[in-house]
Amino acid sequence: MRDLIIVGGGPAGLAAAYGAYEKGVKDILILEREDTLGGILNQCIHNGFGLHRFKEELSGPEYAQRYIDMLKDTTVDILSGTTVLELREDRTVCALNSRQGYFELQAKTVILAMGCRERTRGAISIPGSRPAGVFTAGAAQKYLNMEGYLCGKRVVVLGSGDIGLIMARRMTLEGAKVLACVEVMPYSGGLTRNIVQCLEDFGIPLYLSHTVTDVRGDRRLTGVTVSKVDENRNPIPGTEMDFDCDTLLLSVGLIPENELTRGAGIEIDPRTNGPLVYDNMETTLEGVFACGNVVHVHDLVDYVSEEAARAGASAANRILGKIPEHRAVHIKTDGAVSYTVPQYIRENAEEKTVSLSFRVRKILDDVKIQVSDGQRTVFTAKRTHMAPGEMEKIQLPREAIGDARDLTVSVEK
C-alpha cells in the first residue's frame, strides 16, 4: 500500500506531489502517461506563466521545469509512460506501461490530476463536410511546437479561448495568414491580455456573436462560412461571410477528463464537469482528492499550482489522520455565478480562510460579490469588471460561515 498516488504529472500533479512532500509524506508516486513530466505546459512555449507563483514571466516548459527541479531531491517516485486504466473505490489504481505491463497498486490517498481535453467539432456539431484541416488549437500547437510542422497556411479560428488566441499569434509568427477569430458569444472567452497581444497586435479581426455555419472541401479544407448569430446563438440568414482558408482551428472550450473519476463512482458537478470537492480538494470518495483542470478549467497555471498544493497538503493530512469528521456547508450559486469550487466547505479545518473560485455567466461592471447564509450577508467584495473568461477568486474567512447550513454566492449591482 502506497501513501499517495498521483494520477498525472502535469502542473497539477507536480504541485500536488510537492505540497504533500512538504507536509511530511515521503511515499509518493506520480503516474504520468507521457514520457516526460509537465503535461500540456511542454507545448506552451509562449511566455506569461509564473507571474503569480514565481513573480517572473516564464514559458510553459520553464514553469514545469521549476517544479520538476523542486521534486529532484525528494523521495517522490515517478513512473512515466504509464497510463492509468481504472481507479477503484478502494483506491486501487490499475495501470499499464511497457516495462511493468499491467499492474494494480492500492494507496491510502489518491490525487486526481488528469487535466482536461479540448472540445471538438463534433461536440458543437458544426455542419458541412469533414475534410482534413480542422484541428483543435491544442493539436495544432503540438504539431507546431513539439514536432515543427505547420498544419495550416490560411487560418480561421473558431472560439476565442486562450489556446486559440495563442495559436492565432503563433501561426502568424510562423508565416500563416490568420483571417479571423470568430466567437459565438458577445464577449471573448479568453483573457483580455491575450485578445490584445495575440489578435489586436497582429491586426487579426475578432468577430463576436458569430459562428462557423459551413465547412467546405472534401479532401483538405477549402473554406468556411461564418454567420452572425442572434441572442439565442442561432445563425441569422443573410449574414454569411465566406472565408477561403485551408485550416479551421477550434478553441471552443475545455472538458475536464473525468472518465477515471466517474468509473470510481465519484460524484461529478454537471456545471464544471469535474468532481464535487470540499475545501480541502477531497472528492466524495474519502481519500481521493482532485486538483487543477480536472476539477474546473483554470485560466492560469499559477492558480492550478496553488490549488494542487492545497490538495497535496490535504492528502498529507488525511494520511496523518488530521482530518476530523465535521459537518459540511454547501456552497450554492445565484444569478450570474455559474459555479463554485469548492462546492462544500468542512467546518473547523485548519486554514483560517477558504479559497473560493468561480466564474460568472456574463460581463459585469462595478459589482459586488456577496456571500449570504440565507439570513444575512457574511462576506462582500467589490469588482470593477468581471467576465466569463476570467476566473474569480475570493478568500472567505472561515469564521464568516458561523453555523450556516449553506451559503449562497451571488453578484449584485
Binding site: L85, M146, G148, Y149
Partner: protein, 472 residues
Amino acid sequence: MYDVLIVGCGVVGAATAYALSRYQLKIAVLEKENDVAMGATRANSAIIHAGFDPEEGTLMAKLNVRGCLMAEELCRKLDVPYRKNGSLVLSFSEDEDKTLEKLYRRGISNGVPDLRILESEELHELEPNLSPTARRALYAPSAGIVSPWDYALAMAETAVRNGAELFLETEVHAIEKTETAWRVHTNRKSFETAYVINCAGVHSGQIHEMVAAPAFRIIPCKGQYFLLDKSEGTLCTRTLFQCPSKVGKGVLVSPTVHGNLIVGPDAVDIENCEDTSTTAAQLAFVRKTAEKTMTKINYRNTIRNFAGVRSNSDRKDFIIFFGEEKFLDVAGIKSPGLTAAPAIGEYVVKLLENDGLVLRKKEDYTDSRKVIRVKELSSSEKNDLIKKDPSYGRVVCRCETVTEGEIVAAAHGPIPAKTVDGVKRRCNAGMGRCQGGFCGPRVVDILAREQNRQKEEILKDKEGSFILLSKL
C-alpha cells in the same frame, strides 16, 4: 489474366472477394480510394437487420435473413466486433400497431426467427429509458450491431491473405470487350479478366454503362447521424426503430458495438453521390425525430456528426444480374446491404458457378483472423504480450485505450493502414471522445516511422487530405 475482377471494395466487394477467394481463382479487386470500405460501408447505421422489412419473395428478403444468420459465426471467425443485441420497432399509435402486425407476418414469411410483439409493460421493462409514449414493439432478437468498416476490412484482408490481389487508388475508366475476355482500363494499368463483377456502390450505374445500355438508375440518398460518447451508450440495449415509412426505416437510436450511441439517419436524395456533408437543418430534423423514441439523450455529449450516401436505385429489390455476358452487376445494394453482404458474396459464387465458372476449393485456405485488442485482454494476457513486445504497453489513444503495438500492427496488416483514418478504422485510435486531438500527432508519427514516409505525406483520409502543410 484474371478469372474474376471485382470493381469496388466496400462491404459488398469485400464479401464477394472473400467468398470467391476460397476457390482456385485468380482474383483482382479494384478500389478507386486509398483504402477499402470508403463509401457507404464506413458511414451507415452499423446494424445487422433481422429481415422483416424487405417484401416477401424478394432477393433482398432472402439475402437479408441469410446475412443476418451468417453474421454471428462470421464475426467470430474473423474477429469482428459484433453483438446480437436484438431490435425493436416501436409503435406509438393504433395505426402503427397495424404496421407492427404487418412486419411481424412479413418477418415470419421471410424466415426471421423468434419474432415477437411486445406489449407495453415488457417493452418498458426491457428498455426503461424509452419514451413512455411507445406502446408496443416488434422484437427481433436475431438483429445485431457490428463494426461495419471492420466487417468489410476483415473480409477483404482474408481474401488478400488467400491470394486475391487488391489494387487501391485504381479507378476504372473504361471496360472493353476483347475476343475472349474483358479488358478493364484504369488510371494505373489495364487488367484482363474473364469475369467482371460490378460492386461499385453509388458508381455502379456508371460501371454498368461502360459495357451495356442503361438498365437501372442509382439514386444516391444521403443520411445524417449523431454519434455520441459512451456516457450515452447505455441508454438502450437494443436497436430502436420507429415504424418504417416510404423513405425507409427511419431514424433509429442504437448502441454501437464500440459502446457509443448512434442516432440517425434522415433520407434525402442528392445529385452528387460523393457529398457526405452534414447540414444544420437535417441534423435538427434527426434530433427532433429521435425525440419521439427517447428524450433522455444528452446531445452535448455528441462526439461526431457524419453522413453516408445510400446506393438506392429505381428498383425495390437489390439488382444482381448479368448485365452483359460474363459481367455481373451487384448494384443498388441499399439497406440492408451491410447485413446482406456475406450472403450476396455466397450468391455471387453460385451465379458464377451456374454460369460455368469452374470452382475448385483451395487446400490451404485461411478462414480466420485474429486482432490484438489490448483493452480486451485479461491482465495476464496483457503481461505476456507486453513482455514479448513492449509497444503493447504504451497507450497512444487514451479515450479508446489503443496501444502503439496495435497501431504498428495496423500499419503492417494484410491491407496496411496508410492514413490516420485508416488506423482509426483498424484499431479505433482517434475514435473516442477527443476525436484524435491527443493521439492524432502520435499516429502520424508512428505511420511515418513504420512506413518510412515523411510526416507531410501522411494523409487524414482520401487522396489530397493533407494534415501537415510544411516543415519549419
